[in-house]
Amino acid sequence: MRFFIDDLPVIFPYDYVYPEQYQYMCALKRSLDSKGHGMLEMPSGTGKTISLLSLIIAYQQFYPGRRKLVYCSRTVPEIDKALSELKRLMQYRQSQGCGDENFFGLGLTSRKNLCVHPRVSKERKGAVVDARCREMTASWVRAKAKTEGDIELCDFYEKIQTLEAADLIPTGVYTLEDLTDYGKDNGMCPYYLARRVIPLADVIIYSFHYMLDPKVAELVSKEFEKDSIVVFDEAHNIDSICIDSLSIDINQRTLRASTASVERLGERVEEMKNQNSEKLRDEYDRLVEGLRDALAARDEDLVLTNPILPDHVLREAIPGNIRKADHFVRFLKRFIEYLKARMRVMHVVAETTPSFLKHIREVTYIERKPLRFCAERLASLVRTLEITDLEEYGALAKVAGFATLCSTYDAGFMVLFEPYESDQNRVLNPVLHLACLDAAIAIKPVFQRFNTVIITSGTLSPMEMYPRMLEFAPVVQESFTMTLARQCFAPLVVTRGGDQVTVSSKFEVRNDPAVVRNYGNLLIEMARVVPDGIVAFFPSYLYMESIVAMWNENGVLKDVWRHKLIFVETPDAAETSVALQNYRTACNNGRGAVLLSVARGKVSEGIDFDHNYGRAVVMFGIPYQYTESRILKARLEFMREAHQIRENDFLTFDALRHASQCIGRVLRGKTDYGLMVLADKRYSRADKRSKLPRWINTCLTETSLNLSTDMAIGLMRKFLKAMAQPFDMSAQLGVSMWANEHIVQHGGRGDVVTAESTAMEIDQVG
């Protein structure tokens, strides 16, 4: 269908548009028009991706400038899904007579997913694929191959090098599969192909990390224009991703490995000195001239990447005392020895980065400045020494990154040393954390560099939290509800068991037999009335283990067993995926199953339980973070001081966004239906409820709050019966689905212009 938002003709590849999609597009357009950032929340399963793409493509093609779209998503399957939606949209636009000449869209993912080399692509680990690839594509290897001959190179890569970027691939939309197929057919490496043509593309779809992780972003995302449109989809965890990308943990194994690497590095330096001291001198000269020149090396050589460095630092030259290769190796040795000494301390130490640096200077006379250039210098040395087996240097790169990060930032980071695994557990396992506390550090460059950054997800409430944490000012900030012709999900808050004892995962009562029994009874009753699959979430693995053990003793599990099979998520990914597979089988063949899993676990993020795979989801308790964690405490303190966010507010916000992520798993689209049970007394309190996304919150009425188990079961029965009645699709029209005339009715502009004149209009622009 085709309709107008203001004067922009939008072509939408379906016959009807949901009202919330239309509103979403309007809000998105406002944000694009004002060239400001936006935050949009829309329920899962309402076609967020296609709305985003249709509007932005329409915008791109209609207005001059052709703003590039950079679409960041979380996982590879999501990237692939977005690409196929894009492909469908472009086909539809073509059938509607839009020219869209030279439209070019593609996705980028790691070498492991794209490699077509017959031998390398057989490798199963991502790091190994990367290493094997570099062994054949690094510039010094290729230079050597020219003179010596018997070195294996990657033909696919060589083919890319012979062509100009514009000649590599015809324009169009390529899914990841299309890209590898094209690579195979034409003997080109899809990975490098994608990287080469990114500057030419109109739409790029890739993972968050390519944009946020400073190490990777430097390689991939550096050439985008300022008015590109950057979209972060499923971005409810964006602050954690930012923080993770700048946090480094060092344990004894890392240190041992890096000592070994430094030794090897030293040997290589010696070797090179004897054979070819010319190169080392060249490098020294280059370093004198300044860092930027060194960085001008070709992108595929940039291998040991460095964390974010402010521009003024990059303009400086590398300090004299680490310019010489053997000096630098000795410097690294000293630094590692220092860290080893720190590891021998038997008590917890938490300090700011300046005090950590001060201590280093007092003990080892290492100044701040050379530390800051550590990562840069290491990368340069590795390049000079022509080292290809980089995975062996991973630990050393980590240590160098640690040095650089903690000497670059004064605020927003903390150095924390913990000798034991946990306070109760006295197993010695010393870890040195460099914890990033400020999510804004990683994402700030993105907000500054691009005019429009859109953050969108199914669960962003409460929305005022993100602008404060990420330090940006959105011009558009909206939350949309789902318009439904029938109420296809039912949130229920269970606060009491059948015996009227309140249930809660509060620390004081969580192991109380009455609470455990009532939680168990709830699960038994649900297993009895809910068909097919039920997903149960617990706040943590620890709690799940203890409660499942208690259920085993008092016979709850046996009762559940009579109705459904039980599967459990474990921290082990392989085990979990087997459990998931069997769970799905049991949901398909009528046996029925319960999946016990953990909020914040693998299952709660990214795995959908649509239709029969999840007719009900139950959240036992509120998934608060482990508040005794020192890193969390430090982060809370930092946020209170820097962003004026109260500890409790953040903890509740974080717990509830995970809870709503979990319960949102059950509903994937308007034909789906599911029950969402929140089993904790605290959910009925207004301060908790108000932090749930608006689309869930509006459905929490008096009747669904403060229920006991038996009342909830009654409601469930009724809901399931009501949902199983045949549903007349025509009832949706005009209510939850709009055709052109409904858009006009609601004050928009449908396709009132005749088809011909619109086509002309578009042609003129295209």
Binding site: V529, P531, H563, N589, G590, H611, L720, K721, A722
Partner: protein, 368 residues
């Protein structure tokens, strides 16, 4: 709850709750004599204060109207049906969300269903299969005598409910029985289930393939909720799947299955079927044995081909295998093939010239 209607002019003068008038129910009898009602189901106020009961009453009216507005198009329907009714006898049927239990409600309706089924499909055959404890057992063989089935169902209703049902076993057993049915007839399985799980010995997908191969239609009425595998089997075999919200709903859903279904496009071929129209045996002084029950009786019908005596029609002759029907039976089945036109609803009385109904003589008024 239905409150006794009290004349509001008088109620403050003489309020006599204990008097016989005050206790009169809506039907004129005493309240305790009335049928047991779940009053909390009748009136349900939701958060917005609306009363669902009135809404559901409206939808009931709509349903009735829809039932009356049948599809009158002439399509080829399979009027010779071979149906197996599968009844779930698992623990889940003991749940009391229908009065008194799901099992009793379902059995009562199943009896009505059988009677109505043979009334409208006289030349069809039916058998009953029960399933519990993961097993399936045959309750009655394929036959066209409604009394056989009703009697067996009554006996069944007294039995204990146990374990879980096995859909796969039940379907295999039913399919085995239907395999004998002639190819010109329609093979159907109608399940009444209350359980949300099925306890199967093997892969139910294979059963599904076998069902499709044998051209068996599976329909199901479920008493609790939509279960993926049940719905899948129903839709893939061309049957229907319905969930009954209450007893009325269950009745509607079951009775929807009574009119013979249209034939699938590929199967609509003309077949010659040999049938016999037996003569009624002349009453004799001495009882003669029948071939169907081997009992002595005074009356019966004589097969036109072999002359053996059967007790009731329609049936298959036990000696020569000829289908025996009477002309009214055929006629009754035929009305499904050529349905009468729907009645046209006319607004108000203005259109009508006569003041009363032509057929029954009742006077028109606005409420009818």
């Amino acid at each position: 709850m239905v409150k006794p209607a009290v004349d509001d002019d008088d109620d403050y003068i003489d309020i006599d709750d204990t008097g016989p008038e005050g206790l009169k129910g809506a039907d004129g009898g005493y309240a305790w004599e009335e049928e047991y009602k779940r009053s909390w189901d009748v009136i349900q106020e939701d958060a917005s204060g609306s009363i669902q009961s009135s809404v559901s009453g409206l939808s009931e009216l709509q349903r009735k109207r829809r039932r009356r507005l049948r599809d009158t198009e002439v399509v080829q329907r399979g009027i010779m049906r071979h149906v197996t009714v599968v009844i779930d006898q698992s623990e889940a049927m003991g749940v009391r969300d229908m009065t008194p239990t799901r099992m009793h409600a379902a059995m009562g309706l199943a009896e009505q269903f059988v009677a109505e089924f043979f009334d409208q499909n006289p030349i069809s055959q039916l058998s009953v299969v029960g399933t519990r404890d993961g097993l399936a057992e045959k309750v009655t063989e394929l036959s066209s005598n409604p009394m056989d089935h009703v009697g067996a169902l009554r006996n069944r209703a007294q039995r204990d409910l146990a374990g879980e049902p096995s859909l796969q076993n039940a379907l295999e057993l039913a399919m085995h029985g239907l395999r004998r049915a002639p190819t010109h007839g329609l093979r159907e399985i109608i399940c009444v289930f209350g359980s949300l799980t099925t306890c199967d010995p093997g892969d139910i997908e294979q059963t599904l393939q076998a069902l499709r191969h044998a051209d068996v239609r599976v329909s199901m009425v479920h008493l609790a909720a939509e279960v993926h595998v049940f719905k899948r089997i129903c839709t893939l075999t061309g049957g229907s799947f319905a969930v009954a919200a209450d007893a009325d709903n269950l009745r509607d859903a079951l009775f929807e299955l009574i009119p013979p279904p249209p034939l699938a496009a590929g199967r609509a071929t003309a077949d010659m079927v040999r049938m016999g129209f037996p003569i009624k045996a002349r009453a004799t002084d001495v009882p003669t044995p029948c071939v169907c029950h081997h009992e002595l009786s005074f009356s019966g019908y004589l097969c036109p081909r072999c002359g053996s005596k059967v007790c009731s029609l329609p049936t298959d002759c036990d000696v020569c295998g000829l289908s025996l029907v009477s002309a009214p039976h055929l006629a009754r089945s035929y009305h499904h093939l050529f349905p009468e036109e729907n009645f046209v609803e006319l607004p108000g009385t203005s259109v009508l010239s006569e003041a009363c109904c032509f057929a029954c003589g009742v006077e028109w008024n606005n409420s009818t």
